[in-house]
Symmetry: C2
Subunit: 160 residues, 2 copies
DNA sequence: CTGTATCCTTAGGGATACTG
DNA sequence: CAGTATCCCTAAGGATACAG
């Protein structure tokens, strides 16, 4: 047990937490993967924008604006820019309407899917304000990797 | 492909997103699992406190204070209280020192482990400020559930 | 409809002094 | 050492008007 504990911690975390900071790298509060994630999409809105792109099939400015949480327009513009700057999303011009922009997830963004699935599973378990998504939990208890593969294909297929 | 897309979305998300809000439930911005997660631990510090408990073996106030990100003492107190209120951590008095408190993850907190693993994996892939944790990635590509089981035992074993 | 720009408010958070 | 309590301030965010 003790061995496993130490093994687990070294394996999972400590090893690259103490890696030396590279020169000229963007400055984060620390050199920790959890902190990196927090600073990349750990604000009040980014996660929801990614959710809209990933699961809700949204791709237009107005669609994000209309989500239940009611993001305000200036904040949305700011977050879209930041997410684009961090390489999580792309912005392209709609062929049929030049003034319309299409937002889409990059591979880096799509790769957040596994984390989202675990987050959803956790919330489904503990948020007693939602029903229990039995099939989903069941599939997640099975072969996660195959579920993720399927969904990634699905998301990638919906872009363009 | 199209079928898969729709299947994926219904399966993963939409189904309980539209669940009716229960009476007297704590009010969130929306009835969405991602938003629930965001409002529970999506602030600037909670994730890091949980990280310290989960992977760093920390359990005392001063230990959290000493983390690289330099949380300030009033904020730490506030977040510990919120996390306890949300049932993610417990606070107990140290037997050997009455003025010392021991913080520990609850099951609800421990259950965030899978999400943390995916978050770490993503950051390890995209944060070019850290090295590549090859063994970890490799294990995560294999049987995730067995990895999670091992680590959960390890974390649970370290409490008390 | 897709954003910008502006104005204004407040919560989050930093610094630091203080208490048991 | 384990927290509380204050003071202060900035950045995040809401509301709304405006522009292409």
């Amino acid at each position: 047990m003790q061995v496993l504990l130490i093994l687990g911690r070294i394996l999972v975390y400590c090893k690259w937490y103490n890696a030396p900071m590279k020169r000229n790298a963007k400055k984060y509060r620390s050199n920790c993967p959890i902190n990196f994630a927090q600073e990349t999409f750990g604000d009040k809105w980014s996660l929801l924008i990614i959710r809209d792109l990933m699961f809700m099939g949204k791709k237009y400015y107005g669609e994000f604006l209309s989500s239940d949480e009611k993001i305000s327009t200036n904040i949305l513009a700011d977050r879209l820019e930041k997410l684009e700057g961090d390489g999580l999303i792309t912005k392209a011009t709609d062929k049929e309407n030049n003034s319309k922009k299409i937002y889409a997830l990059t591979q880096k963004g799509i790769d957040l899917l596994p984390m989202f699935l675990e987050m959803i599973a956790w919330s489904a378990k503990y948020d007693n304000n939602t029903g229990t998504p039995a099939e989903f939990i069941k599939r997640l208890e099975g072969d996660k990797n195959s579920l993720i593969r399927e969904l990634k294909e699905s998301i990638a297929g919906s872009e363009t």
